[in-house]
Amino acid sequence: MFGLRYLPGVTTLALDVERCSGCGMCLNVCPHAVLAGTDGGRVAIADRDACMECGACARNCPTGALSVEAGVGCAAAIIVGALKGTEPSCGCEGGESAGGHE
């Protein structure tokens, strides 16, 4: 029906194609298939609105072609951050362990 898609047009993900070496590491780490390989060997952003800004692609890009303002998409973290005057910080202790959190 409505599916598990979040708000469109918000992600801070950016790709500088000129710096992409085509190593494919970002394709391995993205949990939502946001990036895809192209015929030219470099990657492209294929599904921008599926990006959850986890930051895995940018951290594992050896040439710095990918950038994103990484953070947790967690309302409680944003509230705690606003109250303490800090960056949004996840307060989960052990944390949930379903659906691959292991």
């Binding site: 898609r5 949990p31 800004e53 953070g71 944003i78 996840c90 362990s97 959190h101």
Partner: protein
């Protein structure tokens, strides 16, 4: 920890004896995981960081990296029946892989440190670490290679796919790389959210039970039952609507913002529950119903919005945008609802 039941013995290595663990989870392991999700017992739910053996691993055996949250460790080892492998447990302060990667404790520096501290390069002859894919937000593969000479291979998202991943020569297919958030996943994490807010909800419900006895003519005990209890049920209904019903029905509810999904449940749930408990409203009760619709919708919306943190697909930018609209609306709804409730209960202004 020396007597931990999940340690079966030791395996000798060039760096000394390494604890050997089983792939079978005991009833105590399962009970511990269940209790943890329901917030029962605040005891440390961790595994000491370091190297562990499963089966009878050799210098050629695969090294699987994990977090020191016991559920992460248990969910990994239960998938390794009949296998010989090393498990390298990082110190993530007792937090699961994905959350710890987001915080940076499941990170490049800690992984390099842990490889060096365990003398892994003397235990195994290869230079390869299988890191769970969801550790990637914290771990830089090229950084680990530079730091300790080990090459990071990202394993599948779900530990259950590990046997297939390893059997296929460490190749992950598309599905192994995707995070899901199916009905069972959502049902599994809902209790965590329910427990976190449950205390506040019960307190609010208790206050409404007592307030039920009060009206313009003073306190009457019979009204605690006839008015207080149903109103407390409306509070708990809205809370469970946001923390349980919304997560379960998540993909079926209109809107993308969790606050909006929760608002639908709050509105419909409060109306339905009111009708079930108090029937059709008459006279001034119409205004009390309107007050509860405002409060129930605002409460369920707020609680549902907090489920963004347990979901597997919301972004920081998206939640910020959602909150900029939702939080003011929730605040207005709650204040207006409370005001209307007070006016209709304690004054004769609304018939």
């Amino acid at each position: 920890m020396a007597a931990a039941k999940w340690i079966l013995g030791t395996v000798p290595t060039p760096t000394g004896d390494v604890p050997r663990v089983g792939a079978e989870l005991t009833w105590a392991d399962r009970l511990g995981a269940w209790a943890r999700r329901w917030g029962i017992g605040r005891a440390d739910y961790t595994v000491p960081p370091g190297l562990y053996a499963i089966g009878t691993p050799t210098a050629e055996s695969v090294v699987l990296v994990s977090a020191n949250y016991k559920m992460s460790f248990d969910w990994l080892r239960r998938e390794l029946k009949g296998m010989d492998a090393w498990i390298l447990v990082m110190d993530t302060k007792g937090i699961n892989v994905w959350c710890a990667a987001g915080k940076g404790t499941f990170g490049t520096d800690e992984l390099v440190r842990r490889v060096q501290a365990t003398g892994l390069d003397r235990v195994v002859s290869h230079r390869r670490l299988v890191v769970p894919q969801l550790g990637a937000p914290g771990v830089s593969a090229h950084g680990v290679q530079k730091g300790c000479g080990f090459r990071v291979v990202y394993g599948p998202v779900r530990a259950a796919d590990l046997p297939r991943f390893l059997a296929s020569g460490m190749k992950a297919d598309r599905e192994m790389r995707r995070v899901r958030f199916g009905l069972m996943d959502r049902a599994a994490v809902a209790p965590v959210e329910m427990v976190q807010g449950g205390g506040h909800a019960l307190l609010a419900a208790a206050v409404f039970v007592l307030l039920g006895g009060l009206a313009a003519d003073g306190f009457r005990l019979d009204r605690v039952l006839s008015v207080g209890l149903p109103e407390a049920a409306l509070v708990m209904g809205a809370f469970l609507g946001g923390s349980l019903v919304t997560p379960l029905l998540l993909p079926c509810l209109p809107g993308r913002a969790f606050a909006l999904k929760g608002a639908w449940i709050g509105l419909l749930g409060t109306a339905g529950l009111w009708h079930l408990l108090l029937g059709w409203p008459a006279g001034g009760a119409v205004w009390t119903l309107v007050a509860w619709l405002l409060m129930g919708t605002a409460l369920a919306s707020f609680v549902a919005m907090n489920f963004t943190g347990a979901s597997t697909y919301t972004s920081l930018s998206g939640v910020r945008k959602e909150m900029r609209r939702a939080v003011p609306a929730q605040a207005v709804g709650m204040v207006a609802g409370l005001a209307l409730w007070g006016v209709s209960r304690f004054t004769g202004l609304l018939g």
